[in-house]
């Protein structure tokens, strides 16, 4: 009887998870999607707690409470830290998978219930799980810049990795052939943990978001493997959904950067940093004050704002909103140009601007806005860099060559707001900032934008004077 209830709740949970993602297709139904997800998860847990094998909750309850205690604060991090949070929770996911796999192995080993199939499934689960664990921690570290974001490479790196991989596979096969070869199991664990580290080390910080999505799908696959271990379809389905999502997102990002997976994973992207920035100093930038910027804006009729990672760092979205309001109040048409990889996550800018209550009807995707850029009077680049770097169009040599960009340079006047002459995430110089029609306003985005906003509101601008 209980068993049937469990089965039914798993069935319902799987369906709810699918609806959950389905409803995420547009903002109107998105929150219902979350509700469905929560319902599904609750059903899954409920169904699990009915399992007769569970002798008591003495360990489960405290662990769960601790999880809630840690989970809640993790959900309140500033939006700029979302990528790191995501990475960390992938780490947790991977850890859980790895541990469950290990436990199952130990239990079945003692009970002599190990089949080759089970051993195989466990090996895959443990490999993916622990690899995701350390890999995600590394990624989080690089995003938080605790670990040097530069790709770290050394001679024979690939050789070493391949060797380790070979050993890991060997050990795995060994376990499948004779599941009781317990001594091989720690080897698999150790190797997958090391592997996670070694795979991330040579990848530059600029590619971490892509890596995170990839780890996302690994975590999903680990869940799938767990499903095969526990003979549980719900795990397989939820895992597959997760895997698909992570995969699709990373593909989208690679496309938006015009890079291949292999290039992202082994390209050691972002090394050129030093070299590139060296060249920067020679040419001159025209710098201006926030007040000048306000004047330009006041006299424009069509304004396009290009937000980038800098806006996120500075938490400037609310100030940007003030400028948006001030301008629209003056009857000036203001649009936001959202590059698919602006910021550090897909959709990063959308979330920030939504937080600042900017109607998403005025957020345009790159492809929609580019044709209109030549008609744009003033283009304000708020802490964006790579996504408006014309080198992507022109310089074959550039590491971002071929990456579709927002044609900020086509605007009549470009106002670029950033703190310094430093390059962006890709670590390369940006010709836009030296262009004829560009003026730089140096300073923290939040401060600068705030000044502009006040200038516009007090109407103490050339136009109003």
């Amino acid at each position: 009887m209980n068993e049937i209830v469990t089965h039914l709740s798993y069935l319902a949970a799987a369906a709810l998870f699918i609806f959950s993602l389905r409803w995420l297709n547009r903002p109107a139904t998105a929150r219902r999607g979350v509700a469905a997800g929560v319902a599904g998860m609750s059903l899954a847990i409920f169904g699990t707690l009915l399992h007769p094998e569970i002798v008591n909750f003495n360990w489960i309850v405290p662990a769960a409470l601790l999880g809630i205690a840690v989970g809640y604060p993790l959900s309140r991090v500033p939006l700029t830290a979302v990528p790191q949070r995501t990475a960390i929770s992938h780490a947790f996911g991977g850890l859980a998978a790895g541990l469950v796999g290990t436990a199952k192995y130990v239990i079945w080993l003692n009970e002599g219930e190990l089949t080759s199939f089970r051993a195989g499934a466990i090996v895959v689960e443990v490999l993916l799980g622990f690899l995701t664990f350390t890999g995600s921690l590394m990624a989080a570290g690089k995003l938080q810049e605790i670990i040097p974001t530069r790709p770290i490479t050394y001679r024979g790196q690939n050789a070493v990795n391949l060797l380790l991989l070979a050993i890991a596979i060997g050990a795995g096969v060994g376990l499948i052939l004779d599941p009781t070869r317990a001594y091989l199991f720690p080897v698999v664990i150790a190797l997958s943990l090391t592997f996670g580290v070694l795979l991330i080390i040579p990848i530059g910080g600029a590619d971490m978001p892509t890596v995170i999505s990839l780890l996302n799908s690994y975590a999903g696959l680990a869940a799938v493997a767990m499903g095969f271990v526990l003979e549980n379809q719900l795990l397989i389905i939820a895992g597959a959904l997760d895997g698909a999502s992570g995969f699709i997102l990373s593909v989208i990002m690679c496309k938006a950067m015009n890079r291949s997976f292999t290039n992202v994973l082994f390209g050691a992207f972002g090394q050129v940093q030093a070299a590139a920035t060296g060249a920067a100093e020679e040419r001159v930038m025209k710098s201006a004050t926030a007040h000048d910027a306000a004047d330009y804006l006041a006299n424009a009729t069509r304004v396009v704002i290009v937000p980038g990672y800098g806006m996120a760092v500075a938490q400037a979205q609310h100030r940007v909103r003030e400028v948006y309001d001030a301008l629209t109040k003056r009857g000036i048409d203001v649009k936001f140009a959202i590059h698919p990889v602006a910021g550090r996550m897909p959709g990063h800018m959308n979330v920030l601007l939504a937080e600042a209550d900017i109607p998403y009807s005025s957020l345009l995707e790159m492809d929609e806005i580019n044709p209109d850029m030549p008609q744009c009077d003033v283009c304000v680049v708020v802490g964006a860099n790579d996504v408006v770097n014309p080198a992507a169009r022109t310089e074959k040599a550039s590491p971002i060559f071929g990456m579709p960009i927002i044609d900020a340079d086509k605007a009549r006047v470009v106002i670029a707001i950033k703190r310094s002459k430093n390059p962006g995430f890709a670590g390369i110089d940006n010709a836009l900032f030296y262009a004829e029609n560009t003026v730089m306003v140096f300073g923290d985005a939040k401060g600068v934008i705030a000044e502009i906003a006040t200038a516009l509101k007090d109407g103490e601008t050339a136009a109003a004077a």
Binding site: I18, L21, L24, N25, P27, A30, M41, A44, I45, N56, F57, W59, A64, L66, G67, V70, G71, Y72, S75, R76, V82, R85, T86, S89, H90, F92, G93, L95, A96, V100, A103, V106, I107, F117, N216, A219, A223, F228, V229, E231, N232, Q233, L235, I237, A238, G239, L241, A244, I248, L249, G331, P340, M345, P346, G347, A354, E355, D357, P359, S361
Partner: protein, 98 residues
Amino acid sequence: MDQDLIFSMLFALMLATFVGFAVIQNVSRLLHTPLMSLTNAISAIAVVGSILIAGEQKDTFTTIIGAIAVFASVTNIVSGFLITDRMLKMFREKGPKS
């Protein structure tokens, strides 16, 4: 463990992959960040396995790592769903104000 069951799981995997691709491709670009955190929470379904291990209590070792797994999964569930909802709350349809 018998073949039929293995294959029925393979069927589930195959179908779920199709569903996954079909559904995710329809997610609006606007919501890709929430999508990441939502799938994140969903993949914490590993909680099912964790609970079983921590509940069976076959031996201390497995019980402890089971409990750790429960902790890790629950953390993801809580933070994942909460942050997703927090982000989605911000998306409100409205015409530009003037």
